[in-house]
Amino acid sequence: MEGPRSIGQSAGHVEGPAKVTGRARYSADITLPGMLWGRALRSSFPHARIVSIDLSAARRVPGVHAVISGADLPEVRIGRFLRDIPVLARDRVRFIGEKVVAVAAETPDAADEALSLVDVEYEELPAVFDPIEAMAPDAPLIHEHPERYEHPPIPPIGGESRYHPFANVCSQSIYRRGDLAQGMATAERIFEHTFVVPPVHQGYIEPHACAAAIGPDGKIDIWISNKTPFIARRQLAAAFGVPEERVRVNPTSIGGDFGGKGSLMDSALCYFLARASRRPVRMVMNYTEELTAGNPRHSGVISLRTGVTRDGTIIAHQAKLIFNCGAYGAFIPLHFLHGSVHSAAGPYRIPHIEIESLRVYTNTVPRGHFRSPGAPQTTFAVESHMDMIAGELGMDPLEFRLRNVLVEGDESAMGERFHHIRCGETLTAAADAAKWNSPKPPNVGRGIGIYERAPGAFGTSGATLSLDRDGKLILITGAADTGTGSFTVLAQVVAEELQAPLADVIVCQGDTDTAEWEEGAGGSRLTHMAGRATLIAASEMKRALIELAARHFNCTSEQVQMRARRFIASDGRELDWKSLVAWAAEHEALPLTRSGSYVAAGHPDVTCYVAQVAEVEVDRETGQVRVRRMVSAHDVGTVINPLTHQGQIEGGLVQGLGQAMSEHLLLRDGAVTTAHLGDYKLPTAMDIPELTTVLVESQTGPGPFAGKSIGELSNVPPPAAIANAVFDAVGVRLTDLPITAEKIYTALRAMEKRN
């Protein structure tokens, strides 16, 4: 042992005291002198031409400092990858909730009054809401010139990919491996099923908020609930037509992200209001705006066709995924819905495969990213499909999976060569903990689901570490902590490497002027990538401290060792941390700063599995489902912080439970009708099942101290596991989400009639 260990210890969030006392500052809490309230008028039509906009009455409202429409803005479009959404609609609106006019006023009341006096004349156009109808030859065209929309070069992932291959299709990705036709020809049985998944909202409790201020020197300060400040800066600078260094994105606490807080949302508009009014402006969305015009999860229709041998070996698999991306494709950071292609084959050994994933424009709210984007939808389909096939073959669902999942030495359906594959072990661990084969009371069923996702390995991460004159270690990161506990994990990495008590490590989120470049949170990359960068900075610091000690001892640094926070020379002389710091301060060596930067070495060669078993009880009379118990088994690396690690598992699982059981962003004629949190049903404390977590541990991860990722796993299998359990309980197979009492009641009555 070399001093107190930090890795593997449960530690409460380092920013905890600020968060439990109300001192943590979120974007909506930012107040600047002279600040105005920005508000937006949104379209009430799903598809219409803007004939005219009259702002004159709005501009006369006392306290109003700016009223702007699309015509007042440069002709730019914004987006996380594809830039197809205007800051304010120009000639056309494409969904109910699209921003048309914005005002900045001294009070919210004045802003609202001004908006009520804006006169917009629309000419309604035919609209289309369903992605399959939108691909019909006579469907209304939603984007007339999509080829003009800009985007970075398409990276070589997701198979062959194209933007706008045909009318109303935003993007298409086709992945092929082996020979599908030949595979299907050799199959003895072929099964085909179609599944429907509705849109669901991230449900963070903090609606999007932002603030913008323009300094006398032209510096643009932005506060934004965004998990990737440096990427936001790049996108904002492009939208404003200024160099990146003119924009500074400032750190704020983020009130929940789950993938939804990666876009600019209102922040570009907020800047244009600040420019027009010459005052700082804040914009805070209300929750109705969040639900009706945020960036919810893609809904879609997923058709699967799988060929197997009679003994239950999968030979060939075809997936066609048609996702509704809403009116714009701007809200995802890639050209395709990554998790849809990746999880369409599941963690199975399949020689012949073809996956086509489409994102189709409709006149509905634009869809975005939400915790393992594309995966829960696709996994619901794939894992239900696997159970249906097992059932047809008369096989136990667990046995069928164990026969087909990847084992060491296999290449995945995506062509990845992973080491330390623990898919079967994880499945077995979940089944054992759930007592898979134990007797069940009537109307009780068990269902299983599995999902695989590798730790994120992309972008660049940076860290700056300073030793101050008090002997404290100050870590400056450019990453925002979206609530996952990443600041705490980074502090633990520093504490471990420098054998320091956790309390001596202070984590600060730097702004984009002062922090090292950081790609930010997303894709389960932060512990891995920012953790690695932090470890490099901490190792460099250790080396520098040893050099200092060598100077003090008047020997070479090779002759000095650091052990248990003491510096020990080979001749036996010793110096403790405090004395070294005091000596260094005297000799003008403090503060001492070292930085680290980390670029991924490529796709990681290890991955993570999660297997879950749901146990449900169905009331045959009402169709009501009660999830009695969930087992979540995880293939994990070194667990850096057991408390926050478990927090990710529990929070994700309940999010998956919500998607399975109660959440449905209902749309009628393009309008979201579940427009507040009374109608859009997030799980409450009363809804949570008994939970058993099993960790299948190994020290094999690519992250610091062999850690893996955990953030985007437990939320994925619940819909499939619960649907499979419902079938096991009462024989009702639901192929659409959520799993409501009404659907089960109807199916049970229909079954009774048939019998």
Binding site: S10, G12, H13, E15, G16, P17, A18, K19, V20, T21, G22, R23, A24, R25, Y26, A28, D29, T31, P108, D109, Q202, G203, Y204, I205, E206, P207, S253, I254, G255, G256, D257, F258, V284, N286, Y287, T288, T482, G483, T484, G485, L643, T644, Q646, G647, E650, G651, G652, L653, V654, Q655, H676, L677, G678, L682, P683, T684, A685, M686, I688, L691
Partner: protein, 156 residues
């Protein structure tokens, strides 16, 4: 416009405000007490929970004038200097929050619970806290934190 006098976290406050000013806006934007958060704005999520004369209320649904002559306690009023309230400490130690935006409301609601029932069962905690939504934790650790605070345990 109306003149109101309220004791907020023990301090007397007098302000002239519009009759329709919501309590949450009064606290956040008139007094600068931004620890109280607004989530759903319709009294469902509980993020804006404060204590009005000791009772938990959704400050997004309450008018500031309703607090006239009364006493309001917000999250800023719980700690004594640097000494955290046992609930605040337990929420940190037991992982009862992640992003922290619902936390002021969770802590104020659980304070009202423990004031009314110092030793609630897990079932009573769930029932009381169902009016406070949390999207990060899945509630397990919130329940543990409240139980620990009730038992006056500070370390897990």
């Amino acid at each position: 416009m109306k003149n109101i006098q309220v004791r907020v976290n023990g301090h007397p406050v007098a302000r002239e405000i519009p009759d329709h000013r919501l309590l949450v806006d009064f606290l956040r934007y008139d007094l600068g007490l931004t620890g109280t958060k607004e989530g759903c704005s319709v009294g469902v999520c509980g993020a804006c929970t404060v204590l009005l004369n000791g009772q938990p209320v959704s400050s997004c649904l309450a008018l500031a004038v309703m607090a006239d002559g009364g006493e309001v306690t917000t999250i800023e009023g719980l700690a004594e200097g640097d000494r955290l309230h046992p609930l605040q400490q337990a929420f940190i130690d037991y992982g009862g929050f992640q992003c922290g935006v619902c936390t002021p409301g969770q802590i104020m609601a659980s304070k009202a619970l423990l004031d009314a029932n110092p030793h609630p069962t897990p079932a009573q905690i769930k029932e009381w806290m169902m009016g406070n939504l949390c999207r990060c934790t899945g509630y397990y650790k919130i329940i543990e934190a409240i139980q620990a605070a009730a038992a006056e345990k500070t370390e897990p």
